[in-house]
Structure formats: C-alpha cells, structure tokens
C-alpha cells in the first residue's frame, strides 16, 4: 500500500528533474536547429528576399529548380563527387586501418594522427595551400608533372573544365579519410580475436579471415562511415568557394555552393531553401539505401 504513492512521487521527481536537466540543451536545440529546419521547409514555398514581406508562391520554387540548368548541373557535379569520393574514402581508410591496426601503439597513433591532420588544419588553410600547389606558374604539380615527363606544358588545373572537379575531389579525399581511419582502427581492434584464431587454425588465409570474420563484425562501422562520408561529400563547400567559385563554366558548381550563391549573392532565400529541402531529401534517401544494403549484407 505504501509503495504506490512513493513510486509515484519518484516518477514525478524523475520526470521533473529529467526535463530540468534537458532544458538548457533543448532551448538551444529547438531555437537554433529545429526552428530553422521548420522555417527552411516553410520558406521554400515563398518568394522570400531581404527587406520585403515573403510572398506565397506554392511549389513554384520547386518547379523552377527542375528547369534550372545550373541547378541540374550542380546536382550532377554533386553526384559525381559523392559517387567518387564515398567509395574511395571508405576503401582507402579501410586499407590503411587494416595495415596499421596491428602495429605497435606509438606507430599506429602516429599514422592515425598524420591522416587526421588535414581535417584539423581547417578547410581554409588546406584550400589555400592546395591552390598554390595547383597554380599555373608556381605550382608544384606542374613542376613535378614536367620533371617526370608526364606533362609537356603547364596546365591550368583549376581553370580547366576537364580537371577542375577532379582537383577538388582530390583535396576532398585528403580531408575526409581521417575520421574513418580512426573509426576503423578501433573497430578492427575490437574484432573477436578467438574467431580469427579459430578460422586460422581451420586453415583460412588472410583474405578469407578478412571477408568472412572481420568484415561482418565491422559492418556497423562501415555503415556509419558511409553515412558520414556521404553527408560530408554532399556538403563540400569551402573548397569550391575558395578555389573556383563554381567555375569554370559551372563545371564545379555543387548544390551546397549554389544554395550559397542564390541565397547570399542574389538574396533569393526561398529558392535557396527549396534547394536545401531537396538536398536534405536526397541525403535521407541515400542514408536509407545504405542502411538497407548494409542490413541485407549482414543478414545472410
């Protein structure tokens, strides 16, 4: 009899204190994340700009988007960046991690640290030095290319439609492998060693051990790496803004850069928000597909 009011008091105390502990964080989260997200969707149905009341235009922004050749070009470039950089980043970091995770701790940390450096250096510092390396006259790429006989004359890497996007993807790769390597090294270190030993006793070779034993066990990490790399590649912005501003001839425009351009150069907020919504939907679909594929892969 005495237990019920007691536990009810406890429930009340838990609820009140729970929400009190959450409150400060929730204020920031709702105020500066949830509210803008809702506003992003809402404003995408308006013709919105500075210093004027927004005008409701229904789906007109979305209709215009799919007829806008620059948007479609940006969509295509974004797709290329994602399709190249996601598999390469994941493959590369998995390879590096499996090569270093068994090394002695200081050496492993050193490698892990070096591959993480471009992330910490910051996108601006990384970008400006690469810009110099790509430079038409003083860049080391042209110098090296000529020194080993690959090039016979200087190439304007960032100003040439054929190379600009590739150059950007290369920088993007160096700044995206850091985090996956950290994750894979720790995941591989946590693989159940007794299973590996059992397989080796049974005469499995290294490849078999990797694909049959380790790969299924690091699947959750792979999934997470896929999702974060996809999001990162979709959001590739600083590189483009600082290196090419989307040029030459829109060959390096991405959705993220185009949103910035429409919203902060032309002040078309509604149109920019509509692009943001489309981008979010595409990322959600990609993540869902990756989840599905990864689930199917582990369940056999």
């Amino acid at each position: 009899m005495g237990k019920t009011p007691m536990s009810r008091a406890l429930v009340r105390r838990e609820t009140i204190s729970g929400y009190l502990f959450l409150l400060p964080s929730l204020i920031f989260f709702v105020g500066f994340v949830v509210y803008p997200m809702v506003m992003c969707i809402y404003t995408s149905f308006f013709d919105a700009t500075m210093n004027r009341k927004d005008i409701f235009i229904g789906l007109a922004n979305y209709k215009e988007l799919f007829r806008d050749p620059i948007f479609l070009r940006a969509l295509k470039n974004t797709a290329i960046i994602v399709l190249v950089s996601v598999p390469v980043t994941c493959g590369f970091s998995l390879w590096v991690s499996s090569a270093i995770y068994k090394m002695r701790a200081p050496i492993r940390s050193a490698f892990r640290c070096i591959f993480y450096l471009p992330v910490v250096t910051g996108s601006v510092a990384v970008t400006v030095v690469w810009k110099w390396m790509y430079n038409n006259y003083y860049g080391i790429f042209n110098y090296l290319g000529k020194a080993v006989g690959l090039l016979d004359k200087n190439i304007n890497w960032l100003g040439d439609e054929r190379f600009a996007l590739g150059c950007i993807i290369l920088i993007l790769l160096t700044t995206s492998v850091g985090q996956p390597i950290v994750l894979y090294v720790s995941a591989l270190g946590n693989v159940d060693q007794s299973l590996v030993e059992a397989a080796q006793v049974d005469g499995a070779n290294n490849m078999q051990v990797f694909w049959r034993i380790k790969w299924p066990q690091i699947m959750p990490t792979t999934l997470y790496v896929l999702v974060i790399t996809t999001i990162n590649s979709f959001q590739c912005f600083a590189l483009i803004q600082l290196l090419t501003s989307g040029g030459p001839n829109h060959s390096t425009d991405t959705i993220m850069y185009y949103i910035y351009y429409e919203a902060f150069k032309l002040y078309r907020y509604g149109y920019g928000n509509a692009m943001g919504v489309i981008l979010a939907i595409i990322i959600a679909i990609f993540s869902a597909i990756q989840f599905k594929l990864a689930k199917a892969d582990t369940s056999y």
Binding site: P24, A99, T121, V124, A125
Partner: protein, 303 residues
C-alpha cells in the same frame, strides 16, 4: 599457435610494399602542412619561382610582418549592458584581433556545449520519463541532416535577434547542434545506476548527485566533447562566412579567406596567414589527441 606467430613476425613482400606505400602516403598527407610552414618563411623570389624551393634558402619574416601591419583593429570592444557606451581596447594588428575572436568563439562554444550536453546526456541516459524516447529520436534524425540547409533561416533569425554579425550568431547554433548530447548520452550510459540509487537513498539532491557523482564519472566524455567542439568551431568556415562580415568580428579562417580574395597571388602572405590559422589548432589537437580519438569512436557507437 605457430601459425599465429608466423602471421605476426613473418615479413612477406606484400607487407614490405604496404609499409612503403603507407610511408609515402604519410609524407603526402604531411606535405601541405610542410608547404604552409616553410612557404610562410620564404622570400617572394622563392615563392614565385617556377622551380620550387623545397627548403627556404633564406628564412625571412617579411610575410609575417606584412600580415601584421596590413590592417589594424581594436584589441577588444565591449558594449556596457543597457547603455550605449562602448569600451574599446588599443589598436592592434587585425590578425591578432581575428585570433582573439576565434579563440573566444571556440572557447565559449566549448564551455556552453559541455555544460548543456553533459546535463542533457545524463538525463537521456539515466532518467526515466515520458517523452524521452521521442526527444532522442528527434536528436538522432537532426544529426543526419546537413547542417548547412538551416543556414538561410538562421541568418534571418539572427537578424531578428539582432545578433547577426556578432560572434554569438556563430556560437549559439554550434551549441544547439545535438552531437554533444548524443555523445554525452553514450558516456552516461556507463554510470552504474546503483550509485545514483544510493545517493538518492542518502538524501542527496539532484543537483548534488549530478555534480558529485555524474560529472566525475563522465569526465573523459567531457574532455572528448570539449576538444571536439573546440576544433570544429574553430574550423566551421561556412557558418562564420555567412554570419560575420565586419572587420572587428572576423575569425582567423575568414581573415585568411579574405586575404586570399584580395591578394590572390601573394602566396607568402597567404601562407603566413594559413600558418597562423592552423598551427594553434594543430597544437591543441596533438596535445589532446587521446581524448579526441575517444570522442570520435564513442560518437559512432550506434545508440
């Protein structure tokens, strides 16, 4: 057993090639950083040479001198609350002001994030109340969305709050980003419930339980989150770019981007700026590397 030992010690050609390749790659990853630092000390002649100077033949400070004399800004300016009085500090090189702004922004984001996220993470992991599951789901969904799509609405919100073009416009959204809550929930799951139970039976208040039991137990998590937030806010270029425009509120990454836009071919000057932007943050990273790694791995454990 023999088989195992053979696997560890036996050197195969494949292993030799792997190690060589790794070392080459490591050098390639280090090279941009090396190029920034050495470039910042090179003479204009060596910077613009068609044949690169791999090592500066003469170390000069001219690039840094240029960086620090280009423009000046007050060391600080502070509006006294509820008045129009502005207290301004002495004039210093603008780059110094940018550095101060960046440190202040990163430290403020870090402290507020750590406090709010530790509290929220504890509540989500250890408190049982209605709506907990829903709040957590919303947080995870928000994390999967690209942060940048909310930037346009954020700008208008900040203008309404009259925070646009102030460092708070960058700090507040960083604090709102729910990764910290997620990370601290992961760490708080490890707190033994019996300890919280015992504290409650002993009559400890919720606040006391939090400061005396929870905080000491999740200290490694707070360390990881602190360093993570510090580095991320330092390098969050996009957010800074759209929120900050006045010279007195520029951060160091923005300042360098501006330098680059104005003097796009003076690579010596730009490298000096890049060194100023990256060396402090790299030092912080190398010192606290252990916590950082831990934070990344904990944040990935699926919850």
């Amino acid at each position: 057993m023999n088989n195992l030992n053979a696997g560890v010690h036996h050197t195969t050609p494949y292993k030799v090639i792997t190690v060589i390749l790794l070392v080459v790659l490591a050098f390639m990853f280090l090279f941009p950083l090396y190029w920034i630092v050495t470039g910042s000390f090179k003479t204009a002649k060596e910077i613009n040479a068609a044949t690169p100077a791999w090592w500066p033949s003469e170390w000069v400070l001219t690039n840094y001198e240029k960086l620090f004399t280009r423009r000046s800004a007050p060391l600080f300016d502070f509006t006294v609350p509820f008045t129009k009085t502005v207290i301004t500090g002495p004039e210093v090189p603008a780059a110094i002001r940018w550095l101060i702004n960046t440190v202040w922004m990163a430290v403020a984001s870090m402290i507020i994030t750590c406090v709010t996220a530790t509290m929220a993470g504890y509540a989500l992991a250890k408190k049982r109340f209605l709506g907990r599951g829903l709040i957590f789901t919303v947080i995870v969904c928000a994390m999967a969305l690209p942060k940048q799509v909310i930037l346009i609405p954020l700008i208008r919100e900040m203008s309404k709050l009259e925070l646009y073009d102030s460092l708070w416009a960058v700090i507040l959204p960083i604090v709102g980003w729910p990764f910290g809550v997620f990370l601290m929930k992961q760490f708080s799951e490890g707190i033994p419930s019996e300890m919280l139970e015992a504290a409650r039976i002993d009559g400890a208040s919720e606040a006391k339980t939090f400061t005396h039991i929870v905080v000491p137990l999740v200290k490694p998590g707070i360390g990881a989150l602190a360093i993570f937030t510090f580095i991320n806010s330092w390098n969050d270029y996009f957010m800074q770019l759209i929120m900050l425009t006045g010279t007195n509120v520029l951060t160091i990454p923005l300042g360098i981007a501006k330098l680059q836009a104005e003097n796009s071919t003076d690579y010596g000057l730009i490298m000096a700026g890049a060194a100023l932007a990256s060396v402090p943050i790299l030092t912080v990273f190398i010192i606290f590397q252990k916590y950082f790694t831990q934070g990344i791995t904990m944040g990935a454990v699926k919850g």
